[in-house]
């Protein structure tokens, strides 16, 4: 896909080619129809332009023509209907031999849980050539799980499961969008779908939670999107956490607290409770999003940022999460 002016989306699922074929058929038929009408209007308008002495010829209508241009277009439309319905039927009936992936959407992130226990946020790793069935629900409002490269979209609705299945064909990194308006950061509720070769995928799967705690925390810090706002190179939307642990923090309401383990924990679960002076309460709560283990990992990571010895970690942490939302905002 051209990164400058993309005119066609990547095609990376078994269904994508079928949707494209129908789309091209629709475009061709529409182009012919449009051209037909444009040319007819132009030719007739010029040929029968108003001239002195030339009177219009009254015509009442023609039942045969009327029936013709009702029935023939409807016949063409029936082909659109049947073709579209066939594709939709395939999209809506997952094969029985599918791997299941669970998705929980919330304002404004995608939480993804693999059966093997792997969890990710705003990232979905899937192997090439395997049927994958997404089982999705929302914690709050309606979202919509949209992967343009797969030509698939499914609303994610609170209080119920909706499903979507696909079979990825080409390794690569593709956009994952939220397509149903869901509030402030609707356009930030995006992520990547990483399609991997089976070998890479099993390797990725094997790389389970065996890394040291700060290392895990560092990964969480990136994958949760913390690094989007809590930046180390420039002033982001959230305070810079470099060397902040253990030092006093001036709050928006004038109080000063010390940044300890409990403060970090509270700031993750209830970010608006103690706002650092000069910042806006824009951080979403992670209540119910991060498990206690993950919280511990995060706390450990923030703590490690204040230790000179862990300079290598900091270097790595500067790398942004690689998502398009990592843009600077005032």
């Amino acid at each position: 896909m051209s990164k400058f002016l993309p005119l066609w989306p990547d095609r990376a699922s078994t269904i994508a080619g079928q949707v494209d074929a129908l789309y091209i058929y629709l475009v061709l038929v529409s182009a012919v129809m449009t051209l037909l009408i444009f040319v007819a209007v132009a030719v007739l308008a010029i040929k029968y332009r108003r001239r002195p002495g030339v009177l219009p010829h009254p015509i009442e209508g023609s039942p045969i023509l009327e029936i013709g241009w009702s029935v023939i277009p409807f016949g063409v439309m029936l082909t659109f209907f049947i073709w579209g319905a066939v594709i939709y039927f395939k999209e809506r009936t997952p094969p029985t031999s599918s791997t299941e992936v669970y998705v929980v959407a919330k304002q404004w992130m995608w939480k993804i849980e693999h059966m093997e226990g792997q969890r990710e946020i705003n990232e979905l790793h899937v192997p090439v050539g395997q049927n994958v069935k997404m089982v999705m629900t929302s914690q709050d409002v309606i979202h919509s799980f949209f992967i343009p490269a797969f030509r698939l979209k499914q609303d994610v609705i609170p209080g119920r499961y909706t499903t979507l299945w696909f079979n990825a064909t080409t390794p690569g990194v593709y956009h994952l969008f939220c397509a149903e308006y869901c509030g402030t950061s609707h356009s930030g509720m995006i992520g990547n779908v990483v399609v991997m070769s089976p070998q890479d995928y099993s390797q990725w799967m094997a790389g389970g939670p065996s890394a040291p705690l700060p290392e895990q925390g560092k990964q969480l810090f990136a994958s949760l999107g913390c690094s989007t706002c809590h930046r180390f190179d420039i002033q982001g939307r959230g305070p810079n956490l470099q060397s902040a642990f253990g030092k006093p923090v001036l709050l928006e309401d004038g109080r000063t607290v010390t940044m300890d383990e409990n403060y970090v924990r509270e700031s993750i679960l209830n970010p608006t409770a103690k706002i650092v002076s000069g910042f806006k309460p824009v951080m979403p709560t992670f209540q119910g999003l991060v498990s206690d283990e993950q919280l511990n990992a995060l706390v450990a990571y923030v703590k490690s940022l204040a230790q000179p010895a862990s300079g290598t970690l900091n270097q790595a942490a500067v790398a942004p999460a690689g998502q398009p939302q990592s843009k600077q905002v005032q």
Binding site: Y23, L44, W69, Y88, Q107
Partner: protein, 548 residues
């Protein structure tokens, strides 16, 4: 106004509806349908430019992939304001309340609408609702999108949803009363001899529109009541946590809001039928089928609402049925386009400004309608719904269709409304600006949608930028095209040449009375002895805009 003393020239200047009283009271308490139409013209135009202002803010924000012009919350409020104002305060009332109000009694040879005081009440309801809407905007706005989907609107949004709901509720009743008035007027107030088969197609279109207004609008009214009640008292009507179903809201919402798009487009289709016949100087091709297609669209339009919900997880079979009926509603629309085109055959075609808008309408509506078939086709809809493809599609129909029809109608009937002609050259230029600007704005959005850019995005991946820049550039051309008519219409009020009763040599009762018409429309009730569009009995006018 300081015109209490009217110059004593009673012979040379017979009283028309404009000169029948100059006080503010004579306008604000008028029951004259023509004056009410002028009141609507002013207020709807104001809302159009307000909505247009929000559109410009959207386009400016989307110039760059970063959300750098305003904060995300502000952007969400801006596109919500754009949608709510354009849908409820511009597109729905624009043609019925301005042109319909002015023309329905004139076209059927009546002195006024059936219920003149209810007509004035409609305008006041519109103004009250508009005032509430502006109050909402000044007090922080709403961020739910015009679709108000629950549970976001009922449980999560921190903005003034209830007040916006009240505005929609009230403006809905404005629309209900207008529709009711039109239906009763068409049934009961027609001049002697004006049978149903002699009615102008504009009247048929208004009639079909009014049917939707009175059948659909009450449903959105009660839906906003339920929404407000749920939000106020934290009831669970649409909240899954409390036993409710968020999709029920979508069903009720689209039960009105899909037919509502026909409330918008049908009156413009009626306008186009008038324009094509007048400037081809010829009876419309297949009068009966064009008239009935309006009614067919109104009826079938009520049976397709769930095609907005193909990716919500509704049952497979419901989706199949709604997709099928949606294709069905395409047929009467296609018939109209073909019949207009066929009307040109062996006509005597003038290229006056209103006709240029009619050509523009046919072109843009064709594209808008055909892309609607893409969306009706289930397999493609899954990919393109909720993307810019949908945005582009409905702007082709709403802006390319409704607004082109409205502007065409305004240029056609302006001599009747004001008694003056506008400068033809400027008008043609503005028509060109609108057509080019429109396509430049919205065509790239089809591509953008298929490539995958979701709608209502404040920031977007950088590869979508070029198409967005094109779109924004087009929007500025479009804005010029919309501002120009404002200027030359205002200019013509004072300096335009006197139009005379029938500047286009058009058929139709409205051209058989003075321009501007007298307060009671006709000096004596006309008796109709001819068929509609009897152009074979009228000389074509040669001096206006013809290419020779």
């Amino acid at each position: 106004m300081a015109t209490t003393v009217i110059p004593a020239q009673p012979i040379s200047r017979p009283t028309n509806y404009l000169t029948n009283g100059f006080t503010l009271k004579s306008w604000l308490l008028t029951t004259d349908h023509k004056r009410i139409a002028i009141l609507y013209l002013i207020s709807v135009t104001l809302f159009f430019f307000l909505g247009g202002f929000f559109a410009m803010l959207i386009r400016l924000e989307l110039l760059t992939p970063q959300g750098d012009l305003m904060h995300a919350d502000s952007y969400n409020k801006v596109f919500t304001a754009h949608g709510m104002i354009m849908v409820f305060f511009f597109l729905i009332p624009v043609v019925p309340a301005i042109l319909g109000n002015f023309l329905v009694p004139l076209m059927i040879g009546a002195k006024d609408l059936a219920f003149p005081r209810i007509n004035l009440l409609s305008w006041y309801l519109y103004i009250v609702a508009g005032g509430i809407m502006i109050h909402v905007l000044l007090n922080g706005g709403v961020d739910t999108g015009w679709t108000l989907y629950s549970p976001f609107s009922t449980q999560f949004s921190n903005t003034n949803v209830i007040e916006a709901g009240i505005a929609i509720f009230i403006v809905g009743f404005s629309s209900i009363f207008t529709g009711l008035n039109f239906i009763v007027t068409v049934h009961r107030m027609r001049a002697p001899g004006l049978t149903w088969s002699r009615l102008p197609l504009f009247i048929w279109a208004q009639y079909a529109t009014s049917l939707i207004m009175i059948l659909g609008t009450p449903v959105i009214a009660i839906t906003t009541v339920m929404l407000a009640v749920e939000r106020l008292f934290h009831l669970g009507i649409f909240d899954p946590k409390l036993g409710g179903d968020p999709l029920l809201f979508q069903h009720l919402f689209w039960f009105y809001s899909h037919p509502a798009v026909y409330i918008m487009i049908l009156p413009s289709m009626g306008v186009i039928s008038e324009l094509i016949t007048c400037f081809s100087h010829k009876r419309v091709f297949g009068y009966k089928i064009v008239a009935l297609s309006s009614i067919a669209i109104a009826v079938i339009g009520f049976l397709v609402w769930a095609h907005h919900m193909f990716v919500t997880g509704i049952s497979l079979y419901a989706a199949l049925i709604f997709s099928f009926i949606t294709f069905f509603v395409g047929v009467p629309s296609a018939i109209k386009v073909f019949n207009w085109t066929a009307t040109l055959y062996r006509g005597s075609i003038s290229f006056a400004t209103p006709m240029l808008y009619a050509f523009g309408f046919i072109g843009l509506f064709t594209i808008g309608g055909l892309t609607g078939l893409f969306l009706a086709s289930l397999g493609v809809d899954v990919h393109v719904t909720d993307t810019y493809f949908v945005v582009s599609h409905f702007h082709y129909v709403m802006v390319g269709g409704v607004v082109m029809g409205y502007l065409g109608g305004m240029h056609f009937w302006w001599p009747k409304i004001s008694g003056r002609m506008y400068p033809e050259g400027w008008a043609k230029l503005s028509a060109l600006f609108v057509f080019v600007g429109f396509n430049l704005t919205f065509f790239p959005q089809f591509v953008l949608g298929y490539v995958g850019m979701p709608r209502r995005y404040w920031q977007y991946p950088p590869e979508f930028q070029v198409l967005n820049v094109l779109s924004t550039a087009g929007a500025s051309v479009l804005a010029v095209g919309y501002l120009l008519p404002m200027v030359y219409f205002a200019w013509s009020l004072r300096y335009g040449p006197i139009a005379g009763p029938n500047p286009w040599n058009a058929a139709g009762l409205e051209w058989k009375t003075a321009s501007p018409p007298p307060t009671f429309n006709f000096d004596e009730t006309p008796v109709v002895t001819w068929e509609a569009y009897n152009y074979d009995e009228i000389e074509p006018k040669l001096e206006d805009g013809g290419i020779r």
